[in-house]
């Protein structure tokens, strides 16, 4: 990439306050869905259907959170309209972070399951 590009002003398709507010509403709804999913599966009034959902609870929940995460990152943090460099600087550590979290869970779970005492 050659050097000395001129200063980047606002991207042409800059979101409006209206768009931001809509995203805010979506975020609120997604949060309500997360809590709703929890109540549906484990809540005091959870029925037999909630029980059937249980194996899918974590993936569904994490999917909802991932959408919220992406919305805040892409719109509020402006990554969608900004230079891809910022996205790279954010996403690369996220990948390493995810790998580390997954590895730690796997390693420690194995350790505690099979470690011999003494």
């Amino acid at each position: 990439m050659t050097a000395h590009a001129p200063a980047q002003e606002h991207a042409p398709d800059h979101p409006t306050p209206g768009t931001y507010a809509k995203i805010g509403l979506v975020l609120f709804v997604l949060t309500a869905l997360e809590v709703g999913l929890y109540e549906f599966t484990f809540g005091d009034h959870a029925g037999p259907l909630g029980h059937q959902i249980e194996p899918f609870f974590i993936p569904l929940l994490l999917a909802l959170s991932a959408v919220k995460f992406a919305l805040v990152a892409m719109y509020y943090m402006h990554l969608k309209n900004d230079s891809k460099l910022f996205s790279g600087v954010f996403v690369f550590p996220l990948i390493i972070a995810a790998v580390v979290i997954a590895a730690m869970i796997a390693l420690m779970a194995y350790h505690w399951a099979f470690a011999r005492s003494g």
Binding site: M1, A3, H4, A5, P6, A7, Q8, H10, P17, Y20, A21, I23, G24, L27, F28, T31, E34, V35, L37, Y38, E39, F42, F57, I58, L61, L62, L64, S65, K68, F69, V72, A73, Y75, Y76, M77, S83, L85, F86, V89, F90, F92, P93, L94, I96, A97, A98, V100, I101, M104, I105, M108, A109, W112
Partner: protein, 207 residues
């Protein structure tokens, strides 16, 4: 604020300060990844209660300790934090357009939400301690308090940062040319929100 590293002369055309805050945020991802790992590996490792989602009977006394997590309160806090992200974006929009009323109004709203969130956390912590959950009590207490405690500390620092921006805006020192300063604070604030977006389900909703 130093104007040394402004956008005109950079290899990428991007402002160095904005790149710096993103780089810092990237680094912070690893900080919270380690704390979240610590929480997740220690799940189910508590020798005694109280537990997050299940009751626990003390074998010595027969006393039952209720599950600690209370969804309604933390949901309110989560919503507050989410809306605060919206508010700070609107404040930034006002700053960039030179709309001082918009800037001040939405920044004040952001600060209120942020302070309420911290207040909620403080209340939640004292409430949990009352119910018998401390750092020392069990692995749930240890890993819960350190993760949410450090997140709360980050929120507090964000509140102080944004309050400084609010003060600058009051003193008319936040014109559109200087809006990057608010943008940096806002990016930090969004990051803190995004970390909570992960913590909320992982800690409070996953059993």
């Amino acid at each position: 604020m130093s104007d040394h590293a402004h956008a005109l002369e950079t290899s990428t055309g991007l402002d160095s300060r904005k790149l710096a805050i993103w780089t810092f945020i990237g680094s912070e991802c690893m900080f919270f990844a380690t704390l979240i790992s610590n929480y997740l590996v220690n799940k189910g490792r508590s020798l005694v209660g109280p537990f997050a989602h299940e009751p626990w009977t003390d074998p010595a006394t027969g006393k039952v300790l209720e599950p600690i997590i209370e969804i309604p309160l933390v949901t309110v806090g989560t919503a507050l934090l989410l809306f605060s992200s919206l508010f700070v974006v609107l404040a930034l929009y006002g700053a960039q357009k030179g709309n001082r009323k918009m800037l001040l109004g939405w920044l004040a709203a952001t600060l209120l939400c942020g302070m309420f969130f911290v207040g909620m956390q403080v209340y939640e912590f004292t409430h949990f301690v009352h119910k018998g959950l401390t750092l020392q009590r069990n692995m749930f207490g240890a890993s819960f308090f350190i993760l949410t405690g450090f997140h709360g500390t980050h929120v507090t620092i964000g509140v102080i940062w944004l309050a400084t921006m609010f003060y600058l805006a009051l003193r008319r020192k936040l014109p559109p040319e200087r809006s990057l300063n608010l943008e940096m604070a806002a990016l930090y604030w969004h990051f803190v929100d995004v970390v909570w977006i992960v913590i909320f389900p992982v800690v409070y909703l996953i059993r």
